[in-house]
């Protein structure tokens, strides 16, 4: 067990390193493009260009550039935005993180509960109209671009039907910190939660149903029925519990990707100042340090979350516990 954890940690470090090289490569080592000009911003003065070139070591070999960049990101944390008058990037991300976390956690709760319900119901009613209907609904959910759904949601709740009893409680776009006003926080986030969750509800309910139906042919499910258990108990205690193993690994990946900035489109559409929107703002101003930092942050988050998922796995699946 100890050795397994150590090996896992080693792997994580390796992947982290790989990710940082990849991100660095994308931004600073793409052929035929000068990174100095990008960092300095559009139409920068020659002195600024010179300063940037020196600060980031762009006149030195690539490995040195990489080392300097990592130092600025993680050790001195003084990576600063040039276009935005030297605003430090790392604290900016730290400020945005809680917003993203609120958005993603709420959506996750929603999509996990709804998709477990939908997937299990569909599996229990396999090949009926309920099953087909739910699965088609899921497919529709997967097919909707999230930013467009967000716009339509805004149209409905902010404008068209805002004055009806149904949506009059929806506040204007933006974020309310939880510490400041829990109820306001909740109201501001409900619609974004739903919009973000729709696609994942589609994916997860379909995956879960597929798993449950496949499991129904397994020997242990037959044993469970032969024991005289009720169909409900067989489905939930034996089928669903076993499916949870794949469900959780899938969830870990998606959650990490979203928390790491994958919810960018939702944040932009609903004006939530999270990590994703930070990236977006930087993007519209071509503010390279900020973009790179957020991408790096999210990649690191994803890798770490994957490591956490593996640990959760140990608790969910006794076979894995012994195998490592």
């Amino acid at each position: 067990m100890m050795a397994a954890l150590l090996r896992r940690t080693g792997q994580t470090v390796l992947v982290l390193f790989g990710v940082s090289v990849l991100v660095f490569g994308v931004f600073f080592a793409t052929p035929g493009a000068d990174p100095t000009a990008r960092i300095a911003g559009r139409n920068a003065a020659p002195q600024v260009m010179e300063k940037v070139r020196h600060e980031y070591g762009f006149d030195r070999p690539l490995p040195v550039q990489y080392a300097i960049m990592m130092k600025k990101l993680f050790i001195t944390r003084d990576l600063a935005s040039y276009t935005n008058r030297g605003q430090a990037v790392v604290p900016e991300i730290m400020r945005a993180a809680p917003v993203t976390a609120s958005l993603v956690c709420g959506a996750a709760v929603l999509w996990v509960t709804v998709s477990i319900f939908m997937g299990t119901l569909a599996a229990a009613m396999k090949d009926t109209w309920v099953d087909r209907g739910l699965m088609m609904l899921g497919l529709v959910g997967i097919s909707i671009p999230v930013f467009w759904l967000g716009q339509v949601a805004n149209l409905v709740t902010q404008s068209r039907y805002h004055d009806t009893w149904l949506f009059s409680w929806v506040p204007g776009l933006g974020y309310v910190p939880f510490a400041q006003d829990p109820l306001g926080w909740f109201r501001a986030l409900v619609i974004p939660w739903v919009v973000l969750a729709v696609m994942f509800i589609g994916i997860y309910s379909r995956v879960l149903r597929h798993d449950l139906v496949a499991l129904a042919g397994e020997d242990f499910m037959r044993t469970a029925r032969a024991k005289g258990l009720s169909p409900m108990r067989v489905l939930l205690r034996h089928g669903l519990r076993t499916s949870m193993v794949t469900f959780v690994s899938l969830f870990g990946l998606d959650f990490a990707q979203l928390a790491g900035g994958g919810a960018l489109l939702t944040e932009v559409v609903f004006g939530l100042p999270g990590v994703g929107r930070l990236t977006y703002r930087a993007l519209t101003m071509l503010d390279l340090p900020v973009i790179m930092a957020t991408v790096m942050y999210s990649a690191i988050f994803v890798v770490l979350a994957n490591a956490v998922v593996d640990v959760v796995y140990l608790f969910l699946d006794p076979r894995v516990r012994d195998a490592r």
Partner: protein, 308 residues
């Protein structure tokens, strides 16, 4: 079947875009037409009209006329949304299809190499895929786009101009390689164990011949199955990139850029954003249904489940 029909219809419609713009609607979907007028019921009407919506001051474009010209109204530059929708569809579909093909090609090469050669190659490629997968897909695509769209990229003799449609194709194909490579690699691994391949190896048939003659044809099923699913993802990605102004560049249109155009008009002229969104939903849904159907039809593995 219905799905296929819908797809064909959408493709056909967007192919006929120029015809529609010139001969039916008589509008130019690419030129700004803020000062223009059109004839409605014998009266001349301004395309940009004053409006009374408190959320949106000033002039706003004309709404859906439900006539040949400006069927779905105009966007903020007075351009015909319906005509742009068709042109945009052409770009969106082309990019999505191109990206899907390129992605499957890359993933196929990577998957075959990893699955068939195994050993170090497999480890390296799999790790690389893990690393690429660690970056959220959209962020990865955005990072690449921002680098490539901000200036032309030179890859040896090839120059990709910043406004080239090939850039989104390339980016989207690249970010979805891990998605497609994994099942392909799994399939290759399974095939490698298959009897006929073992037999061929025993007979001393060279590796590249086994790959070409035995593995590739058998992989075709997997590729065909993945095709529509990857294209659906690619279409969504394209629209997202274009929505963020990182995909198709103006004055070209795609469904994503039209939604972006419509964002500012969402409370006054929602049709500008709703129409292309619906188009995306319909096409992606059709692709997903097609992919699903193909999977059910081609996947023989669990169709023969038995009671014991």
């Amino acid at each position: 079947m219905v799905a296929l029909g819908v797809l064909a219809l959408m493709a056909l419609a967007s192919l006929l875009a120029p015809l529609y713009a010139h001969d039916v609607a008589h509008t130019d979907p690419f030129a700004s037409n803020v000062a223009g007028t059109i004839m409605l019921d014998g009266r001349e009407v301004d395309i940009m009209q004053p409006n009374d919506n408190p959320l949106h001051l000033g002039l706003s474009p004309i709404g859906p006329t439900w006539r040949a010209a400006y069927l779905l109204g105009a966007d903020s530059q007075g351009r015909d949304v319906a005509a742009r929708l068709l042109y945009g569809g052409r770009n969106s579909l082309l990019i999505a299809a191109g990206a899907a093909v390129l992605c499957l090609l890359l993933a196929g090469v990577a998957g075959i190499a990893a699955g068939f050669l195994g050993g170090v190659v497999d480890t390296l490629l799999s790790r690389l895929m893990d690393i690429m997968w660690a970056v959220p897909v959209y962020l990865f695509a955005i990072s690449l786009s921002i680098v490539m769209v901000s200036q032309s990229v030179r890859l040896g003799p090839f120059v990709l101009h910043a406004d080239s449609l090939l850039i989104p194709v390339f980016i989207i194909a690249l970010v979805y390689v891990p998605y497609a490579a994994r099942p392909i690699r799994g399939r290759v691994l399974a095939l490698r164990q298959a009897e006929f391949v073992t037999a061929a190896r025993g007979l001393g048939v060279p590796v590249w011949r086994i790959m070409l003659r035995d593995i590739l044809p058998n992989l075709a099923t997997t590729l065909v199955m993945l095709g529509p699913l990857v294209m659906a993802l690619a279409l969504l990605a394209e629209s997202a990139l274009s929505f963020l102004s990182l995909g198709v560049q103006a004055p070209q249109a795609s469904w994503g850029t039209i939604i972006q155009d419509g964002e500012g008009l969402i409370y006054t002229r929602p049709m500008v954003a709703i129409a292309p969104g619906l188009a995306i939903v319909i096409v992606v849904l059709a692709l997903n249904i097609l992919g699903d159907g193909l999977r059910d039809a081609l996947d023989v593995r669990d169709s023969g489940r038995r009671a014991s």
